[in-house]
């Protein structure tokens, strides 16, 4: 007899989506980060962060918050600090 996943006698391993949700919630709700625009993915046993934040210091805080929630998984930082150069062209909407 084969056991159905999630119905064995031992608790099933947690689905990665719950970890993703916890990290997203921490990054949004922790006053140290307060970032609602960071994408969190949990793939292949590691955490990936992407999106833009306003400064390198905030980027560091987001990685720290994610690492604190990640339960020992590697956290990959694909974030960027948003560039703030003046535009070189205007769009003509006349």
């Amino acid at each position: 007899m084969t056991e159905e996943p999630g119905h064995g006698t031992a608790p099933a391993a947690e689905d990665p989506s719950y970890l993703q949700g916890r990290i997203e919630r921490r990054i949004a709700e922790d006053p140290e980060t307060a970032e609602l625009g960071v994408r969190v993915s949990v793939r292949g046993g590691a955490v990936y962060l992407s999106g833009d934040v306003a400064s390198e210091e905030r980027r560091m805080h987001v990685v720290e918050a994610a690492t604190a929630e990640a339960g020992g998984l590697d956290v990959h930082d694909d974030l960027a600090a948003t560039p703030a150069d003046a535009p070189t062209t205007a769009e003509d909407l006349r």
Binding site: D52, S55, A84, P87
Partner: protein
């Protein structure tokens, strides 16, 4: 021609103070007015508003702003408005202003806006108090935008609708569709299309897309700084 610079979601605070200032010093040579599309702060505190005021004061062009959801987070939106107004910015919430540029006039109608979603997949003002509060606020902000635009009737040659939340789904492309009801509100677009609006400017959707249109063909631009990936955009109207 009126040259309109715009940016939103700058999320300033002590650690990002002065971040935009180098690019802003060039503003008077390339634009006639700067519009700020909300989320000027990160936690919505008066202290952060001081950073915003320092960043955008004395730029040599008029600055017209709406607040965003982050600017409401600490329930200090009224104090934030006072700080920004004290620095010479015009902060709109359900009202309008007219900026003179030479012989021309630019009318700006502004409201923070709110979520609700888009036709066929939006929330209704029905059910639990929490649901009615959400959808009711979505309806209320559209009514405020209508009042602001009504107030501009005939007062300017060019009109811009300035919001934080998006009036259309076009400029949310890149965001998960499941969260669109928290990012935009089609009632804002319905109001825009019922008035003589030349451009709608919004922020809020960091992973969205710059360019879109209302159903009636009005240009919409998402100027969230992470979308622009520069200090601001400039639109010639």
């Amino acid at each position: 021609m009126i040259r309109v610079a715009a940016v939103g979601d700058v999320h300033l605070g002590g650690d990002a103070r002065g971040h935009l200032r180098p690019a802003l010093t060039e503003l008077p040579s390339i634009a006639d007015v700067l519009l700020l599309a909300g989320d000027l702060t990160r936690h919505g505190t008066v202290e952060e508003a001081g950073c915003v005021a320092a960043e955008f004061r004395d730029l040599g062009v008029p600055v017209v702003a709406v607040l965003g959801n982050h600017d409401y987070h600490s329930d200090q939106q009224d104090e934030i408005t006072e700080v920004l107004t004290g620095a010479g910015l015009t902060v709109l919430e359900g009202d309008s202003t007219v900026v003179r540029v030479g012989a021309e006039r630019l009318g700006v109608a502004g409201v923070k806006g709110f979520g609700l979603g888009f036709a066929g997949r939006s929330c209704s003002d029905f059910g639990e108090p929490e649901s009615k509060a959400f959808a009711g606020h979505g309806k209320q902000v559209a009514a405020r935008l209508a009042e602001a635009l009504d107030g501009l009737d005939g007062a300017a040659e060019r009109t811009v609708a300035l919001t934080h939340y998006s009036p259309v789904a076009d400029t949310l492309a890149g965001e998960p569709p499941e969260i669109f009801p928290f990012l935009g509100n089609y009632l804002l677009a319905e109001v825009i299309d019922a008035h003589d609006v030349h451009l709608a400017v919004h922020g809020h959707a960091h992973a969205g897309t710059e360019k879109g249109l209302t159903a009636g063909g009005t240009r919409v631009r998402n100027v969230a700084q992470p979308v622009l990936r520069r200090a601001y955009a400039v639109y010639d109207l």
